[in-house]
């Protein structure tokens, strides 16, 4: 799976978890860009992504992301 496909999948997860069909994400998107993306929904996003890709993030990774791109990079290393 290439990174664009990851991005598309992650976008679907964002829409589903945050319950907003209009969300569009890019590699540069940060939490401030999306109203519903706060520290609480962040955890729900993480768990949903873990389930979707059958991967597990370590706690350091969870704390280290600044952008969606960081997230995608991390997924692609798994």
């Amino acid at each position: 799976m290439d990174k664009n496909q990851f991005l598309a999948d992650v976008q679907e997860i964002f829409r589903d978890v945050l319950d907003n069909e209009d969300i569009v994400i890019t590699n540069e998107t940060v939490a401030d860009d999306i109203e519903e993306w706060d520290s609480l929904s962040h955890i729900q996003l993480i768990v949903a992504i873990e389930k979707h890709f059958h991967i597990k993030f370590n706690s350091k990774e969870l704390m280290g992301w600044k952008t969606v791109g960081d997230m995608i990079d991390c997924i692609s290393t798994k």
Binding site: V17, D19, S39, L40, I43, Q44, K56, N58, L62
Partner: protein, 577 residues
């Protein structure tokens, strides 16, 4: 089980029409998502949860400071979630000689909450401690009192004893839940480390469900009756085809063990007071044969309150059972191995609970355990006799058919009623009946044991309980009246409820005679009754006018008054003892 996302979505529906439950959550870890899960579960079960979440890690402060937000909010239910993680942290900070006191220290705090007079009428839902096995001593920890393992287990054990002692304390058994789900599903280390949440996202719906099980039970929503299919549900095989020797039961044949253990579970439910009934497509004789003759049957005919075996549909048979028992469909559970039957029952009787039994009977029990169907908010020893009472009721119904005159029938019953105030002996039953009675209940005020004790101690309150015995047997305590003074001359009927088992026996007349007598003794001139409608108590809408009360004009609710002095004692065939 719903997912957290589904629970969240259920909150988008309009909840304004639902009954509101005020609930507070006080925890020592991050509880925001738990709050969402509880509100969502509440919405699915028909409650609008008005929730106050105390700020993070303020458990002691919230309880100790009488001006805290917790007291300001004044919720009916207070959920207290002190986590095993924080307890472990505390344990590791203590000097070793104090570690053996850890459980006692925490129990002392819980006792303080339970004995706080401000919280006496509140329900405290306290989470027990899912174990974290730290293996510092290995299994040897069981020998070392100061070990964390020892203290944690002691705490969980002693919490049970505290909840026996304090009627307002309800333990939410999340330790038991962890036993079922497994620690690795209950807890996500990466999430905990980055968020202070000790519960995994996947565990939240289960925890919320357990909390709401307790809330609903206290609110009077719980299961009273289990209806069983027979073939391949209670035993393996088909009795009509396989015959008595061919069905699978016990340790001999096929997977008989699964059915035997299932029956043992049902028997325990029966002993706890759940009414067990049978709805089976069979000839009655054939269906009863294993109960009478099979050596490995745990369930006997005596355990079954209503036995419906015929060729009618399950839906019809369940309706018949409902009419005999006179309880709501929403308090019934139906178990059947056949998906077709299950769907038919679900479609025709939406209120009934029909678990989706697994295909393999070996899985029945573990699946049923996971549903926690039979949560309750009270238990009394009398519960055990309930099956007998319903069997007796069936006999009574058949006797009444032989009399043409109702009075003659009632006389023939030799009815006796013991009238008493609330005592420590009848308090558990009074409280229980106040939570169970839905139909013959004028104002549907729910009382716990602690509430009833408080009423018994209030000299201004006239508290009455009634039993009813007849020649077929003792129904036990079946009716309760609580009257409170409005002024020097007027009594208000705060509570009047009666078990539907004793309808049409003249018990209402007998009760009112007693009420008037007590009112006269205390010098009151007027009794005012009120009817507050619920979806279930239409039966008593005209209760007061039927008894000769006059409608109070201009009152906002349906209120009725009775002149005590002009009252003529009503005829009834019940002797007071």
């Amino acid at each position: 089980m719903q997912t957290l996302a589904q629970l969240k979505k259920s909150l988008k529906n309009d909840l304004t029409g639902l009954p509101t439950v005020k609930l507070s959550i006080v925890g020592d870890t991050a509880t925001q998502l738990l709050c969402t899960a509880i509100r969502g579960t509440g919405a699915i079960r028909g409650y609008n949860i008005d929730l106050f979440e105390a700020e993070y890690n303020q458990v002691e402060r919230q309880f100790m400071d009488p001006t805290s937000d917790l007291y300001q909010f004044d919720a009916d239910f207070i959920v207290v979630f002190q986590s095993t993680h924080k307890l472990g942290e505390h344990h590791s900070m203590l000097p070793q000689e104090q570690q053996a006191m850890l459980a006692d220290e925490r129990l002392q705090f819980v006792t303080t909450i339970c004995t706080n007079p401000t919280l006496a009428s509140k329900k405290i839902i306290y989470f027990n401690y899912p174990e974290i096995e730290d293996t510092v001593y290995g299994s040897y920890a069981n020998k070392v009192e100061s070990s964390f393992t020892f203290q944690m287990r002691k705490l969980n054990y002693e919490l049970m004893k505290l909840s026996e002692q304090f009627p307002n304390l309800f333990i939410c058994d999340i330790a038991g839940l962890q036993n079922k789900l497994g620690r690795d599903q209950m807890f996500a280390a990466n999430v905990y480390t980055s968020t202070e949440m000790v519960l995994s996202i996947d565990a939240l719906p289960y925890i919320a469900s357990r909390v709401m099980d307790i809330v609903c039970a206290i609110k009077g929503q719980f299961k009273k009756c289990l209806i069983l299919d027979l073939d391949n549900t209670v035993w393996g095989g088909v009795i009509g085809d396989d015959g008595l020797e061919g069905i699978q039961l016990g340790h001999g044949l096929g997977i008989g063990k699964a059915f035997t253990e299932f029956q043992m579970w049902v028997k325990k439910l029966k002993q706890r007071g759940i009414i067990i009934c049978v709805a089976s497509k069979n000839n009655e004789e054939t269906a009863k044969e294993p109960f009478e003759k099979h050596p490995d049957m745990v369930l006997k005919l005596d355990d079954i309150a209503v036995f419906q075996a015929n060729w009618e549909t399950k839906v019809d048979n369940i309706r018949t059972i409902q009419q005999i028992l006179n309880i709501g469909f929403d308090s019934m559970v139906f178990l059947d191995d056949n998906p077709f039957e299950r769907n038919m029952v679900r479609e025709n009787i939406p209120a009934i609970t029909v678990p989706e039994l697994p295909e393999d009977p070996a899985e029945y029990l573990e699946y049923l355990y996971s549903l926690n169907l039979f949560e309750t908010a009270s238990y009394s020893n009398l519960d055990k006799d309930r099956t007998k009472q319903y069997q007796v009721e069936a006999q009574r119904v058949s006797l009444s058919k032989t009399f043409t005159n109702e009075a003659d029938f009632l006389k023939s019953l030799n009815m006796v009623s013991v009238v008493s105030g609330f005592t420590k002996f009848n308090t558990p039953r009074v409280a229980q009946l106040s939570q169970r009675s839905n139909q013959f209940n004028l104002r549907t005020v729910r009382y716990t044991v602690a509430d009833i004790e408080a009423l018994a101690n209030d000299p201004n309150v006239i508290d009455l309980s009634f039993t009813l015995e007849d020649k077929f047997g003792d129904n036990g305590l079946i009716a309760v009246v609580i009257m409170k003074p409005l002024d020097k001359e007027t009594l208000f009927v705060d509570t009047w409820f009666m078990s539907c088992r004793v309808l049409k026996r003249g018990m209402e007349n007998f009760t009112l005679n007693t009420m008037v007598e007590k009112a006269k003794e205390a010098g009151y001139k007027k009794i005012i009754g009120e009817y507050l409608p619920t979806p279930k108590n239409k039966m008593v809408e005209l209760h007061y006018p039927n008894l000769g009360f006059e409608r109070v004009e201009g009152a906002e609710t349906a209120q009725f008054e009775l002149d005590v002095e002009a009252y003529k004692t009503k005829e009834c065939y019940i002797v007071k003892k």
